[in-house]
Amino acid sequence: MNETRYLPRTALGLLIEAIQDGGYRVIGPRPEIGQGGLAFREISGVEDLPQGVVDHQSPGRYRLEGSGSARNFSWANTASAIKPYVFAPREKLWRVVRKEGRLSFESMQHELQKTAILGVRACDLAALAIQDAHFLEATYRDPYYKARREKLLLVAVNCSHAAATCFCASTGDGPEVVSGFDILLDELDEGFLLRTGTTRGAVIVADLPCEPASSEQIRQAWDQLQHCREQQRALPPASELAGFADKLDDPRWAEIAERCLACGNCTAVCPTCFCHREFDSPALDGVSTERWRDADSCFNADHSYIAGQIVHPGTRERYRQWMTHKLLSWTEQYGRTGCTGCGRCITWCPAGIDFAEEANIILAKKGAAT
């Protein structure tokens, strides 16, 4: 199963067909015509994938550029990770009907299609494992997340370029995919190195026209990954992150709050953020109502509302909650940080606040607040 083989570029379409033949809809990176950038959307074949497209990312900025190459995966990452395909940003939970004063509650059973995602990055797989720990591995399991998760086939592609906003090397989550995949590709100019991580993955690729990979091809893939490890940004080492406990009154939080828009874009694109709010959507006739949940953000006032009080009253407290949850309290909750270094919170922040840089600034200052 761990044998590395070579799939010529011309056979990528056959891989997609083989996945589709397995009963999966295939989600892959697609250029967004109206909105720009790439997004994970359903694709029908190779023709829907970006080709020769490189992303340029910096705080508050994402642009695609043609490189003329034949590659389909020469970008670093998409606007959202695969989170929406497991933790749906809006979901109906249950329904209740009121008849003659009695209430009957019905759970919503979603008809779900088997879903394959092509082009998953190491940081996104690491984030998926973090969300699994949250939604599936505690006392209560989330049935909606679980149903989607069980129908998921993951085709990972190792990165061949790191965006300026990437810092997965410093969190230890990338750029190399090491686990959590069904099928793993390395994209080279002429084709792909292919490995499988599960029996399901192996079954799908069984009939593809693969060849044994040459040592030269394996070396090229290795060099490519080595190149991705040289990243412009880095979080402080995990061993230093406990230092946030002494920085909760640091004046930097207020300085960040002057720039922060409290718009919640960072939490929305973060592949590990799990907060959600529940609400009722009653029918006008008052006979039935549906219970829904929406992805929520710790940047909203109602996130910490209790009768007569907002626990995190201002942007300073909300930004502090966001960063210290990711880098400090997450470790207490799940044994590791809630950040996999994808850099999306930096790129998609309209104000260009640099999460990694701010973490370094706050931790670098000695002692408590002065």
Partner: protein
Amino acid sequence: MDVRPRVAIHKFASCSGCQLAFVNMGTDLIELSRLVEIVHMAEVGHIASDEEEVDIAFIEGSITTPHDVDRLKRIRAHSSYLITMGACATSGGIQALRNHADSAEWMRSIYAKPEYIHSLSTSAAIANHVKVDFELWGCPVSVRQMLGAVRSFLFGVAPQVLGEKVCQECKRRGNNCILVTQGQACMGPVTRTGCGALCPSFGAPCYTCYGPAESTNASSFGQCLMGLGLDSDQVARKFASINNAAPAFSEATQMFSGKTWMEE
């Protein structure tokens, strides 16, 4: 005896677009008329006096004449619950731009006999004149929002208020941010949710229909817009739109405008 709650829908200075949220309810309008008695809605032909006692008065439009002020006070006195719907009633609307202008001079330059015009020098939100029990933002308000509000009142509770930014709904819809990918001056990061992120979902920038969100950081966002290439006056104009008189936006307009922004 008819025990249905009595509802009136009143119009002041506005385009009538918010009343359309009632008319556009489709079959829900039939259900609504079963649940409530609409005693006044000039747009569809029910006319009652301003002194008709009602349970809920929905108010569309802003206050721009001395006569409006008297009428509004009569309506308030005869309504147990008063709800503003839309930008005009809630913040003064686009027409509040005139609050910064010399309206007497404008009237002289347009009308042959300005003495026949009885108009206040400002366009004001309903809350500037009477107590408002609940505000529905939007230009126009949406059908979904109206239905949710009406249903809440029928259950005897206030509608749920969400102060979050358009961005969050935009992200739930799976959109890529056009501010980040194209440098478009999208006002989502300062604007209240409620529209379903309609414009950015079609690649067009948000232009503040639903008014300021809670915790709006207009000063930082204005700087962001300048970083995208807008000059200070252009930033001021972005805030001086449909909800220009909402405090967070009028302060931002002042902050970024030179003295010239109203004069062109």
